[in-house]
């Protein structure tokens, strides 16, 4: 009881003095990142959720290749260099020497990284007979969705430092998959150790990687603690302890940044930008994200099966107002599905895109030509959740409703709970929908195949249910030809078809934000990957 009384007295004394705690080296050499949610697993192969990838992918693991954070080109990582055969079917990777795996309280590796680890990591998702394939559910969402395993003929270790991969058919986007967050390299030795102990499922919960940090403690919905991997093979920053403080409320993250309880915060929302800009010692980093928010028409239903009607509707909406009211100026106007910094993007030429800009007169004319009478009623489905590519679909729908009223079209806004919404959408019950797409690689194909190909119309991820054989052929050819310039030509053609057919109206490419204290530098905050703290520096 005496000590309690002493504490209380201390409490009061502290309040009266209101002084700052003495500085401590543990705080100077540590960094707190306030993230928005708990990771579902500690293996990036098993998820596509950005929250999970941010927490684990770049802190715990490396991949064979990396995307350059500036231009998205492929850079060596665990593979020192690589070769592609002339026919584009054989890929050979030379692996780096002396890369150490994490020594943790649950596992101490006896050897550095080698070809066995690459074989293990790839075979886990690609070979259904692999002992670890079905551990953790047997679903590898990213690799399954691009159907990459169907194209892999063989994968073998030529030596302990060389891996060779053979494909059935050439695919110029193939290499880029090995730089995505999902292509993490796990330890084969650790996997064997777990098999011996008969606890293989621990591989996804107690991770062992080669990344810059080692997981030390995780408490769900509270925090994740990492400590520096002292034998990390790449340049290190001056941070010894990294903590992810899980704070789901965005306003709380903002407040904790202001009180300096967080060094860096995830996803500040656009309406908080003004506060952040006025705050001293806090800076905002912006990065165009590889995404697009669009308005898709159900091309299976009349009159949306008529390209003239779709073009008319596209011309009837004022994208500038939408950018101001929905994105608070944090997005750029989209005139293509591809974001402007994609290498395959081509700026529209004057006169090339007659329907790209707001033109209600043209819209009225096209509508009357298509036989649409004033008073025509249509649905706009607005997705019920916030996404960077569309922070407020409902508000966007309201604005479009006003625009369409001017050209004589009545709009009914429809929304359901997110899971029901997606189900009904796949059943093509909608007239039109406000939705979007965020890509995983800088590859242009990632914007075309999953959302506009005929295959995706069957799977249901093509929200316009649009299938155009010429477009489909063009995007498949773009994958088989060599050289960016050649591929660019095909993608330009594909975009031209989209401009004319207008199954979806691209609306905006949004920006991704990160807010941090001024004394924190070198965060890997790139549009091509999740957040990375390997080289982060903190000054006092």
């Amino acid at each position: 009881m005496n000590s309690l009384a002493l504490f209380s007295a201390l409490l009061i004394a502290l309040l009266l003095t209101g002084c700052k705690p003495p500085s401590s080296s543990i705080l100077e050499k540590g960094l707190i990142y306030c993230s928005e949610g708990s990771p579902e697993t500690f293996n990036p192969q098993l998820v596509t959720s950005a929250t999970t990838l941010d927490a684990i992918s770049r802190q715990l693991y490396n991949r064979l290749l990396e995307f350059d954070p500036v231009d998205g080109s492929l850079q060596p990582s665990l593979a020192e260099y690589w070769q592609v055969s002339e026919d584009g079917l054989t890929y050979t990777f030379k692996l780096r020497d002396n890369v150490a795996f994490h020594s943790t309280r649950y596992f101490t590796p006896s050897r550095p990284f080698n070809a066995k680890d690459v074989l293990f990591s790839f075979k886990r998702w690609f070979d259904i007979d692999h002992p670890f394939h079905h551990i953790g559910g047997g679903i590898y969402p990213y690799f399954d969705s691009i159907q990459i395993s169907e194209n892999i003929q063989t994968i073998e270790a030529v030596s302990s430092k060389v891996i060779r991969l053979k494909l059935y058919r050439a695919d110029s986007s193939f290499l880029s998959h090995f730089a995505t967050d999902y292509a993490a390299i796990l330890s084969a030795e650790y996997a064997d150790h777990l098999l011996e102990k008969n606890t293989p499922e621990l591989i996804d919960m107690q991770p062992v990687g080669t990344g810059p940090y080692i997981l030390t403690h995780y408490q769900k919905d509270a925090y994740i603690r990492f400590k520096r991997h002292v034998q990390y093979w790449q340049t290190k920053g001056n941070i010894e302890n990294l903590v992810f403080d899980i704070t789901s409320q965005s306003s709380l993250r903002l407040a904790k940044l202001i009180t300096r309880e967080c060094d860096v915060i995830a996803y500040p929302v656009t309406s908080e930008m003004a506060i952040l800009n006025n705050e001293d010692k806090v800076s905002l980093q912006a990065q165009p994200a590889i995404n697009v928010g669009f308005w898709a028409f159900n091309t299976l239903k009349a009159p949306f099966d008529n390209p003239n009607v779709r073009r008319a509707l596209a011309a009837a909406i004022d994208k500038q107002t939408i950018l101001k009211a929905v994105y608070y100026g944090s997005a750029s106007e989209a005139n293509s599905i591809l974001p402007p910094f994609s290498w395959a993007y081509q700026a529209p030429k004057q006169g090339n895109k007659p329907n790209a800009s707001y033109n209600p007169d043209l819209a009225k004319r096209l509508l009357s030509e298509a036989g649409i009478k004033p008073g025509f009623t249509m649905d706009i489905w607005a997705m019920p959740i916030e996404r960077a590519y569309n922070p407020n679909a409902r508000k966007m729908a309201e604005l479009i409703k006003e625009n369409l009223k001017e050209v004589g079209i009545k709009v009914k806004i429809v929304s359901y709970e997110w899971n029901t919404f997606r189900r009904l959408l796949s059943e093509q019950k909608h007239d039109s929908v406000l939705i979007g797409w965020a890509a995983d690689t800088p590859e242009p194909d990632n914007f075309f195949s999953p959302i506009l190909s005929c295959a995706s119309a069957i799977v249901g991820s093509n929200r316009a249910a649009w299938c155009n054989t010429e477009f489909d052929e063009t995007i498949s050819q773009a994958l088989t030809v060599e050289g960016r310039e050649n591929r660019k030509r095909y993608y330009a053609k594909a975009q031209k078809i989209l401009d004319f057919e207008m199954p979806v109206v691209p609306i905006a490419h949004s920006t991704r934000y990160l807010a941090k204290q001024d004394n924190v530098y070198n965060i890997n905050f790139s549009p091509y990957s999740s957040i990375g703290f390997s080289q982060v520096e903190k000054n006092q």
């Binding site: 309690l4 009384a5 504490f7 209380s8 201390l10 409490l11 009061i12 502290l14 309040l15 209101g18 002084c19 700052k20 705690p21 003495p22 500085s23 401590s24 080296s25 543990i26 705080l27 540590g30 707190i32 030390t216 403690h217 769900k220 919905d221 509270a222 925090y223 603690r225 302890n241 903590v243 403080d245 704070t247 709380l252 407040a255 904790k256 202001i258 009180t259 300096r260 309880e261």
Partner: protein, 338 residues
């Protein structure tokens, strides 16, 4: 005294019995399969299902089921959390110490501040100090807790930047958890950054403790004040006054003891208020205790946690209440004859 003790214990046991019945019924009343609600497991095969059904006697009568449930509770088996799939009892041991710690400090603060101020106001009845303290306590009592907490955050954390606004300690300090009472754990550890960590933990404690203590302080202040005024008006005090005793001597010899006898049961009442307020306070200050844990469980429809939380929190309140009642009876012979 013995008779009184038996009566109180009887009250304690019967309340706990009713509580256990309510908690047991929730397993059937919550939506979903009772096997899931009782065990907390989300997925199981047929074999596991039958084992669990047998364990909770779910194919038997309600009485059998209740007995099975109670025996599980006594074995410390409260099922597993839907959300984290870890045993509820483990989670409870993780979060309970931080709530208890916060409540103890707040209660201590309330006693140390509320009662002396109440005395002061009572002894200075109808003087400036009485009016001021009484008005302050009325204001303090009328301010909603969440608003007060937010105002503290706004002033001391966001504007003045004096104190942290969330959590128990800066997460960069890694404190080995032995008892869960953070200050004790820090003092016991041999960490190189012990003093800084202690300072940081104390700084984190100030705002939640102040917020949580506000209502009990005003409650104890008002009760003490009113009791002192009443005691001061009694004949024996008047007699003592005519004997020429100073106010201080009066207070020391007569008023203090007679007032405390009536204030002690109020501490129990204040404790009740505290237990409900601690939930709100924890949410405002992101304090990782039972309040945040239960509210998160409500959001996530985590029935095993809601059930266990209800049982444990209410049993704890009843237990404390009876303890203070007994303490009161022990110190006040008049009371136990009632």
């Amino acid at each position: 005294m013995m008779y009184y003790l038996v009566r109180r214990l009887n009250l304690l046991l019967s309340t706990l019995f009713i509580l256990s019945i309510i908690t047991f019924s929730l397993g059937h009343l919550f939506p979903g399969d009772p096997v899931q609600n009782f065990s907390g497991l989300r997925e199981f095969d047929y074999e596991q299902y039958t084992i669990l059904q047998e364990k909770y006697k779910l194919d038997g009568s309600y009485i059998q089921q209740y007995l099975a449930f109670i025996s599980q509770v006594f074995n410390g088996d409260l099922g597993v959390s839907f959300n984290s799939q870890s045993p509820v009892i483990d989670e409870l041991f993780k979060v309970a110490p931080s709530s208890i710690e916060l409540s103890i400090y707040a209660m201590l603060l309330a006693i140390l501040v509320g009662i002396p101020l109440g005395f002061w106001a009572g002894l200075r009845h109808q003087k400036l100090i009485d009016y001021s303290l009484y008005s302050l306590s009325v204001i303090g009592n009328s301010i909603p807790l969440f608003w007060l907490g937010l105002m503290f955050i706004l002033l001391f954390s966001l504007n003045l930047n004096w104190l942290p606004m969330s959590g128990r300690i800066n997460l960069l300090y890694e404190i080995p958890q032995s008892t869960g009472f953070i200050l004790y754990d820090i003092l016991k550890s041999d960490l190189p950054y012990k003093s800084q960590a202690l300072y940081d933990a104390l700084a984190h404690l100030i705002l939640p403790t102040l917020t949580l203590a506000m209502v009990p302080i005003t409650l104890l202040l008002t009760t003490t004040r009113n009791t002192v005024i009443k005691v001061m008006q009694t004949n024996y005090i008047k007699a003592a006054q005519t004997k020429g005793l100073s106010t201080w001597q009066l207070a020391k010899r007569h008023v203090f003891r007679n007032t405390m006898l009536q204030v002690i049961p109020q501490i129990a009442l204040a404790f009740n208020v505290l237990m409900t307020s601690v939930m709100v306070t924890e949410v405002i200050f992101s304090w990782p205790g039972m309040g945040s844990w239960l509210i998160e469980a409500i959001y996530q429809r985590d029935y095993p946690v809601i059930k266990a939380g209800l049982l444990v929190v209410s049993a704890f309140i009843v237990f404390i209440h009876v303890c203070i009642d007994l303490l009161h009876a022990f110190t006040n012979p008049l009371y136990r004859k009632l």
